[in-house]
Structure formats: C-alpha cells, structure tokens
Amino acid sequence: MTKIARLTCVFSTLLAVVAWHGPAAAEEGLKVEILIYSGRPNPTYVLKQKSQLDQAITFIKKGKKLKSMEKSIITPTLGYRGIVVENKGKVAGLPERFAVYQGNVEVMGKARANFTDGGRAFEKYLLKEAQRQKVIDLKMSRQLKVNEMK
C-alpha cells in the first residue's frame, strides 16, 4: 500500500468514527415512541449507547426489502399500534424516521420503503428496552407480547 493510500484509509476511518460518534449522535441518539395512547402522551425513551445503536443497525441490516406497501403499517386504531423510531442523532446506517410493527419495518417520509423484521425481533427488543428504561412496566410489556407476538 502506498503512503497516500494508507493516509486515505486512515482519514476515511477517522471520518467514519466522527460520523458514528459525532456530538449529535451522542447527545440525541434514537427517540423511541411506543404508540399506544390516544389522549395521554405515549411512552418514549432514548437509545444512545453504542451497543444499542449497533443492535438497531443490525436489525435494520437483517431486514429483507419488501415491495413498498400502499398503506402505512401504523393503522389509526385504538390501543397498541406499533413503535416509531426517530433518528434524532442522525446515526449513520439508520433511516431518519421509521416504524416497527408486526414483522415489518417501514421507512417513513419521502424515501418510503418496507423491510422485514424477522420473528419481530426488533420490535421485541424495543419493547424490552422500554421496560428496562422503565417507561412501561413488566405487566404492560408482557401484555403486548402476549397479544401481539405469538
């Protein structure tokens, strides 16, 4: 490898690190909202640890691209209707805003696209985190899993 090539490689790596651990990402991370209430504000929490963000990226990468759906996976019904993740920290490798529900991931906004969430693994992970961060209690977490994830 030439000197220039080595420098380019190091510089690219540095850029990637800055993009990954940039100030915005560290401060804001991913805002996760459990869509369940109508009147009260929904339970929300933030994922910002590197391991959590890595996990989220892994779930997204595992998803298989689906034919874009005409209707959103988030239906306007009462009760639990999915999870919306907002990429507040502009974390690389993740869409700006996406929904996770019933085995699907929907990239929201203009660049709309649909992916699979095999075994509802991402959704389960996000609900488990909601419980771990104490925005919903164990009973609610179990209730949602019992009702929705057989």
């Binding site: 209430y37 009147g39 009260r40 339970p43 209707r81 919903i136």
Partner: protein, 377 residues
C-alpha cells in the same frame, strides 16, 4: 351487574340535569382581598354604569354593572371581571315591588380561579359579603345551555317605605375572557313580572359551526398529525401541543384518569355538558368522551399503564370520526366499520380498551379544519 346499571343510570341522569341548566359554583369573598385575583397590588380600576329598574316605586333605584380587567402577573391576567348589584335603598313603594332574580346573557364563565383563597380553583361566582355595600347575597346562580345566567337572591330585594330604608344586594361577580358590551338584562319581581334593564356583559364569543370529515388536514404525516391528539381533533383545534383536558384552564385531570375527572376537566376548558339524545345549541358540535379505565393490579402508579382517554366528534354528515393520538384521523372504529354511534363502536385495541363511555359535551367548533374556538392546550 345491577349495581353497575344503576350507577350508569344515575350518572346519565346527572348529566341530563346538567345539560339544561348548570348550577355555578358560588363563593363568598371580602373586599378588597378579592381584588388580589385581578392585580398583584390588589388595586383595580373599575368602570361603572347604572340603569334604572322600571319597578313601580318612587325614588331612585338601579342595576349597577361594574367591569375591570385582570392585570399582568395576577391570576386573572388578560381576563375581564364583571360585578353586578341591585340597589333599591332609595326606592320608595307603597305596594310590594320586590326583586327575586336577575338574568343576563353571559356566555362562557371562567372556572379556573380561586376567589375565596381556599387553595381550590373552580370558583365561578363570587359574592362580596364583606367590606362592601349591600346586605343580600345569592341563593343560586344557574346557567342554561344558551349561556344565560339567572342569579336568584337569598331573600327578596325590596324598596323601603321611605328613601334610604330600602335594600341592596351585595356586589356579585364573575369572570369572562370576553370584553364588555351593552346587553339587556331581565329583572324578575316576586310577583313574576319581568322587567328589562340595560346592563353590560361579555361580548358574544365566536360563531360556532360543525366541521365536515376532512382528514387530509390532519393526516400530513408531519407536524399536524404527530402533535395533535384526539382532544385536538374532537375540538377541531390545532395546538401542536397534544392537548390535555383542563390544562388550559389550570384544572387538568388527575391520574388515574376517570370519566368524571376527564369530563370535568373538559367542562373547565369551556365545553358544555349534554345528554346522549341532546343536540348542541348555538351551532356547537357534539363530542363524546370515553376512558380506558385503570384496572388493578395491572394499572398502578407511576405508569398507570392502560389508562387513557379518547374523544370522538360528530361531523356535518352526522357520522362520528376520531384521531387516535398522533395517528391519522379516521372515520372507522377498531373493527374498521363506519361509526354511527360511538357508544357501540369497537373501542378495544391491543393492550387497552376504552370500555367506559363517559358521555357527551358540546364544543364550539368551526367548519374550517383545525380552527375550533374552545380554549384548549
């Protein structure tokens, strides 16, 4: 089961009596401490007008209308105080010509203030029984669905047999968000005779009208949709604050949410109670409240999981529509059926069920989407 049915019946009966006339919460206060509600230094500048009451009596008598504004920093900042007094002290009558009540069109009464300083808001009418003129207070103050308030005195107000020996009421007052305008009040004598008298009362509020179902305004997948919930949609008012019943009036519901708690909070915001079969007067829109009750042991502090409220609104096509939280506005229930009756609509979803039907209210809405006139936040 029978007990529950009896409770529901009694609750609906309670609502039905409130729909036609609602008693206002009257408290006794003293001057000048009442002024502290309107000014941080407890000094107010008043505007007084008087008009003669055409009772059959000699001498002078009058209805006094007194208005003033709530000053910055005070609890009533930006609001308008209204006080009234019937003075027959110098009226002279040989035959009985006593006054029983006063009725005037007032409109929406501010219910978020604490006039008697007991630490509890929700006072609606105050009577200055200490430190002021008069000797006769109020037996009741009752408002009908047209906004007319009848103040009934706790004893007849009578002229005297000589000048200076007649009676006067205390000043009694209330507060509105609307500035004053001339009105014609009605004074009712004990005999039943009704006499018209010039007075001042709040200007009429904005015209109410019923909105069509037009979901595109709400379903923008952005600011409007995500920041306006069922209470915003029900009142057809965009605030971008995920409005909560009672928050604008300083009388928000407490957790866990109950039918009574959410219903009363909406009334504090200015919505008017209505029976199931009732039609809203004055072009107001009929809205319905439901609650997903807090059911132990799953629902407990601090999360109160599964406990929530939800609103439906009646459209100009006489069908009901709603907006579940930050989701899209829709005309379908949870079974994806059109909603002809919110009481029988499917209101149960995964994780929670809005099984308690709380009743109906009237909201001052507008044909333009997002432009309702209720004071919610």
């Amino acid at each position: 089961m029978k007990q529950r049915a009896a409770f529901v019946f009694l609750f609906l009966l309670f609502l039905s009596t409130r729909a036609f006339s609602a008693p206002l919460n009257v408290v006794n206060v003293s001057a000048p401490s009442i002024n502290c509600v309107f000014d941080t230094s407890c000094k107010i500048v008043v505007s007084d007008t008087t008009a003669p009451i055409p009772i059959v009596a000699g001498g002078a008598n009058f209805l006094q209308s007194r208005t003033y504004t709530g000053n910055p920093g005070s609890p009533a900042n930006g609001l308008y105080g209204y006080e009234y007094r019937i003075d027959l002290r110098n009226a002279v009558a040989t035959a009985p010509a006593c006054v029983r009540s006063l009725t005037l069109k007032f409109g929406s009464v501010v219910s978020s203030l604490d006039y008697n300083g007991n630490g509890v808001t929700g006072d609606q009418v105050f009577v200055i029984t200490g430190g002021g003129i008069g000797s006769i207070g109020l037996n009741s103050a009752v408002q009908d669905t047209n906004g007319d308030i009848t103040f009934t005195f706790n004893s007849p107000v009578c002229p005297g047999s000589a000048s200076g020996s007649g009676q006067s009421t205390y000043f009694f007052g209330l507060v509105s968000a609307q500035p004053p305008a001339p009105v014609t009040a009605s004074v009712t004598e004990v005999s039943g005779a009704v006499l018209n008298v010039a007075a001042r009362a709040p200007q009429p509020g904005p015209a109410c009208s019923i909105p069509p179902y037009s979901p595109a305004y709400w379903n923008d997948a952005g600011t409007v949709q995500l920041n306006n919930n069922c209470y915003n949609y029900g009142n057809n008012k965009r605030t971008d604050t995920f409005a909560q019943p009672g928050r604008a009036a300083g009388a928000m519901y407490a957790l866990p949410i109950t039918c009574n708690g959410a219903y009363n909070a909406a009334v504090a915001d200015g919505l008017v109670p209505l029976t199931a079969s009732g039609a809203c007067p004055g072009g107001r829109d009929k809205v319905a409240l439901v609650v997903a009750p807090c059911v132990a042991p799953g629902c407990a502090a601090p999360f109160y999981n599964g406990n929530d409220f939800h609103w439906y609104r009646l459209g100009s096509d006489l069908m009901w529509t709603h907006k579940p939280g930050g989701s899209q506005a829709t005309n379908l229930d949870n079974s994806f059926n059109l909603i002809a009756n919110p009481e029988t609509a499917n209101r149960c979803g995964s994780g929670l069920c809005y099984s308690d039907f709380c009743g109906y209210l009237c909201s001052c809405s507008d044909v333009q989407q997002g432009q309702g006139h209720e004071n919610i936040n």
